[in-house]
Amino acid sequence: MCTTCGCGTGEVKIEGQEAHVHEDGTAHSHVPHEHATEVGKKYRHVHETHQHAHEDHEHSHEHPHDHDHLHFGLGAAHSHVPGMTQARMVQIERDILSKNNDYAAQNRALFEKRGILALNLVSSPGSGKTTLLVRSIIELKQSIPLAVIEGDQQTLNDAERIRATGAPAIQINTGKGCHLDAHMVGQALLKIPLPDESLLFIENVGNLVCPSAFDLGEAYKVAILSVTEGEDKPLKYPDMFHAARLMLLNKCDLLPYLNFDVALAEENARRVNPSIEIIRVSATTGEGLADWLAWIAREREAIAAERQENMQALKHGMANLEDNLAAVQG
C-alpha cells in the first residue's frame, strides 16, 4: 500500500468481469492482470501480502531501513558488490513505468489506426468532471459517435450517469488504486463499442497527483479546475497541469459569489505549463461550452485528416506494388 496516497492494486473491477469466490472462501476476480496463467499464481500471493501490509500500514514508518547505503553511488559499490561469489550483475536500464508505457503505446496505436480521439480527463474530486461530461455528451451525441470509460475507486454511479444520456459507458473500479493505468484502459476498450473516428472520453480517478504519471495512450490530458478550488492548485499539483494540453476552468457561473482570481489561476497554470490552452466553462449554464466543443471538433478534424493522409499513402504504395507485380508478370 502506498504510504503517500493509499494506492495499491488487486481490487480492480471492470464492469462485466465479475469476481468469484472459491470453496475456501477466498474471493478474487479475474480482471486484467497483465500476466497469464503461469505468473498468475505468484501474483495472487503478492496480493494476499498486500492485505497484510495494509493492516500493518501504520507501522510502516517505524520499519527499520538500512541507512548505511545512503551514499551509495558515490563509491566503488556503484557497479561492484564486495564479496560477490556466485552472484552476478545483470544490467537492466529499464524505466520503471516501461510496462505501463508499452500498454499505452498499444492503446495509442489502436486509436491512431482507427482515427479515434481519446481524451484523458483529470481533476480533483468534485471539480464537476462528470457533469461537464454529461452536458458535453448531450451536445455531441447526435453528430459524433462517442463512448466513455469511467474510472472511480468504487461504485458504478458515474457510468450510470453517462449511460442515462444514451452514450455507451464502462466503469472501471480501481479498488485501492488511485489512478487508471494503460492496461485497465486496454481491457475496457475490448468491452466498449468504439466506431472508427469516434470520440473517447476517459474520466480518470479524481486525483491531481498520480494520474499525471500514467500514460493511457490518450491524445491529450484535459485538466479540469473548478473556481470553487484555489487559484494556486496548478502550483500545488504542477505535474498534472504540466501534463495537460487543455485546462477547463469549470463552474464559472459561480464567479460572482466567490473571491476567485481567474487571471491568477490562469497565470499559475501557464507558469507550470507555458503552452497550456485554457477555456472558461460552466457545465450548469453552458457558458464556454461552444469553445470546448469547437476545440474537440478541431482535434477530431486533425486526427481524421492525418488518417486520410496515411490511407492515401498506403493506397499509393499498394498501387506502386501492383504496377511492379504487373511488370514482373509481363
Partner: protein, 113 residues
C-alpha cells in the same frame, strides 16, 4: 506519489529479466531515481518490501541512487541545477526552465544468482 505501482513495475521488470536471463534469486536491486521524479524514497522502500514478498526478489536489498536535477533555462540559455520541477532558475529567477535531468525512474541493474 504512487510508489506501490512503481514497486510493481520494478517486480515486472525483474520477472521479465529472470525469464530472459535465467536467474532464480535476486539479492540486490539497484534503482536510479531522479530528484525531480516525485518519488518518496521511504515510501518506495516500504512498498518494495511488500510487493517483492513471495517473489524471486523476496528479501532483496534495495539500493537507490539519487540523480541530481538539472534544467535548461531559456533566458540564460544554459543548463542550471534545480531542486524542484517548475521551480525558478537559480541564476535569473525565470520560470522558463525545462527539466533535462533528474526525472529518471529506472531499474539500473540487479545482483542475482
Amino acid at each position: 506519489m504512487h510508489e506501490m505501482s512503481l514497486a510493481e513495475g520494478v517486480l515486472q521488470i525483474i520477472e521479465d529479466a529472470a525469464r530472459s536471463q535465467g536467474f532464480t534469486k535476486v539479492k540486490t536491486v539497484f534503482l536510479e531515481i531522479g530528484q525531480l521524479a516525485s518519488v518518496e524514497v521511504e515510501a518506495m522502500r516500504f512498498c518494495f518490501d511488500v510487493v517483492l514478498n513471495g517473489s524471486i526478489a523476496e528479501g532483496a536489498k534495495l539500493e537507490i541512487v539519487s540523480l541530481p536535477g538539472s534544467g535548461w533555462c531559456m533566458k540564460c540559455a544554459t543548463t542550471v541545477p534545480i531542486v524542484e520541477q517548475y521551480g525558478a532558475c537559480p541564476q535569473c529567477g525565470s520560470y522558463q526552465v525545462q527539466p533535462v535531468g533528474g526525472t529518471e525512474m529506472r531499474v539500473k541493474e540487479l545482483e542475482v544468482e
